[in-house]
Symmetry: C2
Subunit: 292 residues, 2 copies
């Protein structure tokens, strides 16, 4: 029986500390504020927006949604970002991506229009550079940092230990590798071209699975004592849901196989994903602190 690493336990302690920091900012006349820029009404955007707004309210951070139409023009979106940059009362901005199809050719220009100091989810090149170099420019992607918050909360040391990351995306695989490296882990980055993945993952002390492939992490990939963070959010059409039917989200792990073997694991839902909104709001608080 593995220890369950529960997002709600991590966020409970994060939120307490963030509430205190936000109150301290307000007492100095600064109300930390997040603006969410959304183009259209994708259901995954709306779900994350709802949890970010709730978390902001809990912590004492002001949050405002600026909803743009799905067919917003490139210029109108750039103008919206310029308005965020110019407004000193706004400390952080989340722009949902992927952008609508017609804006993808301008993606680089658009994401880099945001002031990196307000880039609370690592979309600008300068934030990426900060994650790579270890400098405090912008912020790491929220999901990558959520992994570190979980390790920290449960007192899991990284120094000298072997961390294996499955996935090399800019949203999670590469940045979480850099964050683990900054904590002195020995980091191995795996991906779809890796030969004999199970042999590599079994060597991990800390295993981060961000393959985004339902059922891809099996008993064969793990060994006793490992810490497993299952980052992916996949749709499992066969999984019983809370409404008594079938169809629910699930991670990469075949939970019934992996959980009995390893030392600790995050469930999906209720693991890494549950921490992300607190990290986002934490970045807004930190962005506000940096302006003092």
């Amino acid at each position: 029986m593995a220890q369950l690493l529960l997002g709600k336990e991590v966020t409970a302690s994060m939120n307490e500390s963030l509430r205190c920091r936000a109150a301290s900012l307000r007492s100095r006349g600064v109300t930390p504020k997040l603006v969410i820029l959304r183009c259209g009404e994708a259901s995954s955007d709306l779900a994350y927006e709802k949890s970010a707004l709730a978390r902001a309210a809990q912590i004492g951070v002001e949050a405002e949604v600026r909803a743009l139409p799905q067919n917003v023009s490139r210029q109108a979106l750039l103008d919206a970002l310029d308005a965020v940059n110019a407004d000193r009362s706004i400390h952080g901005c989340l722009l949902f991506r992927p952008l609508p199809q017609h804006l993808r050719p301008f993606q680089d220009e658009i994401v880099n229009r945001l002031d990196p100091a307000k880039d609370v989810d690592s979309m600008t090149s300068l934030s990426c550079s900060g994650v790579f170099t270890g400098q405090a420019v912008g912020f790491p992607p929220c999901t990558a940092q959520a992994c570190m918050e979980i390790l920290d909360h449960y007192g899991i040391a990284c120094r000298g230990r072997r961390a294996v990351v499955i996935g090399r995306s800019l949203v999670i695989g590469k940045p979480v590798s850099m964050l683990l490296l900054a904590r002195d882990a020995t980091v191995t980055i795996c991906h779809t071209k890796t030969d004999d993945l199970p042999a590599v993952t079994r060597q991990a002390d800390i295993l981060i699975s961000a393959a985004g492939a339902l059922g891809s992490l099996t008993a064969d990939h793990v060994r006793p004592g490992q810490i497993v963070l299952d980052v992916s959010v996949n749709w499992d059409a066969q999984k019983p849901n809370a409404r008594g039917g079938l169809g629910a989200i699930a991670g990469d792990a075949v939970f019934s196989e992996v959980e009995p073997v390893v030392g600790a694991i995050t469930p999906v839902p209720g693991g890494v994903g549950a921490v992300t909104a607190s990290v986002l709001i934490g970045h807004v608080v930190e962005a506000a602190e940096r302006t003092l």
Copy 2:
């Protein structure tokens, strides 16, 4: 007996192709041009400058040294960078680092003043971001790319194979890890805090040693068949030199121990370091090509 991976063989074929590309640019009215900015006269800077100038001449790239005094002011150096940025006949700029002590507090401002399009040795944040994200913004550090040129020249495939990098600096360890990852290697990054380094390095198919520690790579770290790139340039006071005395440069490897075990290895000198200047000049050619 390992195969020796010789820098001069790699540069011979690189230079041939670069001469052809430079000639093609000149036939279109564009002479690729490098400016070297140097503050003071550090002997290591002068040595690299000499080899860069020689390589530029061989390839048909114009090169100009702009030597600033050791005590150059922050503003005068920024002005020199602005002049490089403004001059459309200049395609690449190399600024020697480390900067003089009095300029270190302004290092971030100074290195980021250069137009990333002319940043042929990856000193700007945007170049770092490009290496991290895999975008063609700026260029990777020359030494990191020299490793890839050697692997390419000798037909050493990366895809699916295990690469282990010793060192996590921004000059070599982190960027070469990203370049290996872009070639679909499974990459492990080790460093001074890694537990049981020999056990990790023996798993490598391709081992990049950038520890910068004389004699740190021993027979214990390697196994038969491995490809070893020894990137470090250390001073070995006991090594016989060409003048019949003692004192010469050497890599991390105890060559007499490691070479008999592995499949292939770069000597020091004559390995990775011998390729760096060609990579630099190659970046200038590519920067010029990107302006067409």
